[in-house]
Symmetry: C2
Subunit: 245 residues, 2 copies
DNA sequence: CGGGAAATTGATGACTTTCAAGGTGTGTGG
DNA sequence: CCACACACCTTGAAAGTCATCAATTTCCCG
């Protein structure tokens, strides 16, 4: 059996050689700190599509960095209704929802076969005492997640569906651009179902908005491949809630 | 000019004598820690109605505990649209949104004349190094806020307006009950405008839902006074998204 | 007591969901 | 390699929810 072309079976490489180095924990660390970190990381965590990395109410096991693939974190209420909180793409960190309580507050599930690095909790705590850089990374990460929730709340609470999608498509474009990819073309990491859930609308509504944007030549879309063809109009759409001007 | 009857002009008392002691920072501290804390607290912060305690992008100044009154935290986008993130009532802590970055991520505004205790940032940081109890309080608080956002996201993203209100009214009832008040009767700390914003709906929609609940005898409401008259039905409403049973 | 803000109510229409059907793509087993 | 089954996505029609506009009414503050 030959290895598939994707990275699900790729071998572990050093943090230094990792293309996600500057997005990941190492970015906040100096050379010595990095060496110490590297000795403690498990680089072989594999989560197949639809499987869970952790569940709500589980004790925290460690924190994770996404190397390839994609995951979602979500909460589910007593009626079984799900709300996706965040999508986690390569270079993103994961697991900080348990940071304050040592217990996860949401589920983390792989959207596709995913490969992660794991920093076990005991190690993380020890290293935190020793490495100021790591504490800083941790703080930044918590800050990012808080800020992310706040923006999503504004989006769900105040924006009509079309604007919610427009602004999220732009956000994703920025995300990929910041990682060295095209700023106008990317592959959606999630299904329509998951995207519509995240944006608080029905799948059909999402599908219709996509079709309309496509007709209006703001974007081209084939399956999960998105091309932003008129970023100016898309931005206008993303911000246009009040009058004419 | 004689002093008004409300607590806006009340004098500072010791943490030990404070009726909110067990909800506040002291709850996580032992006797020595508490003494140390008490020496550092400014108990005289007054914020008049509609005035701000802090604004987004300001450096953090300290953390606060609400003694009387009520505040809201909210973010505002480039179009001037506001989303209220949380209401802060007596016994609640405030200011942790800046914890990770040292910069506030939202505005905090008084809904009525409010009285707060302030723990200045330098002191807080010093004390954190010395007092494990304080670190614990801080962590709990961050965990609470994360969890709060997550539940609000689920509410805004997945629930119809009526269920959003029903579950928030119950949440408030629990809140007050946990603080020694009636579990079925309380005063709403915010205007209809603010409540509707928080719940992601139009004021008129909120008003109609309130009227309907009132007609259906789930609640009685006069101005801001809420009496839950049929908690069973209200709970059913709060959770009823799927079928019959 | 008067003016203005806040809250309620009604009528209307836009937006969104739901239900249903059909199409497209993917993966598995023959 | 093809075919079939299934999941995913799109589209249409109809119904329902919710927002907006407008008009009162009520409450609150000076």
């Amino acid at each position: 059996m030959k290895a598939p072309a994707n990275s699900f079976t790729q071998n572990a490489i050093s943090c230094n050689a990792c293309s996600l180095r500057h997005l990941c924990i190492p970015n906040g660390l100096n050379k010595d700190e990095l060496e110490e970190l590297e000795r403690s990381i498990d680089k072989t965590v594999k989560i197949p599509k639809k499987h869970e990395l952790y569940k709500a109410n589980e004790d925290i096991n460690g924190i994770y960095a996404v190397k390839s693939g994609a995951l979602k974190t979500s909460i589910i209420n007593s009626e079984g209704q799900e709300q996706i909180l965040e999508f986690h793409l390569p270079g993103d960190l994961l697991g900080f929802d348990a940071f304050a309580t040592n217990t996860h507050s949401c589920d983390a599930i792989a959207l596709e076969d995913s490969l992660l690095c794991k920093l076990p909790m005991e190690v993380f705590e020890n290293l935190c005492d020793k490495l100021p850089g790591l504490r800083r990374v941790m703080m930044q990460q918590i800050g990012k997640e808080i800020s992310h929730s706040q923006h999503l709340l504004l989006s769900l609470g105040q924006l009509p569906t079309e604007e919610r999608l427009a602004s999220y498509l732009l956000q994703l474009a920025e995300h990929f651009h910041a990682r060295g990819f095209s700023k106008s073309e990317y592959i959606l990491p999630m299904s329509r179902q998951d995207l519509s859930n995240y944006l608080g609308m029905a799948v059909e509504t999402l599908s219709r908005i996509i079709s309309r944007m496509s007709n209006d030549k703001l974007i081209k879309i084939e399956q999960r491949k998105v091309i932003i063809t008129d970023i100016v109009k898309l931005e206008k759409l993303a911000h246009a809630s009040c009058g004419s001007a």
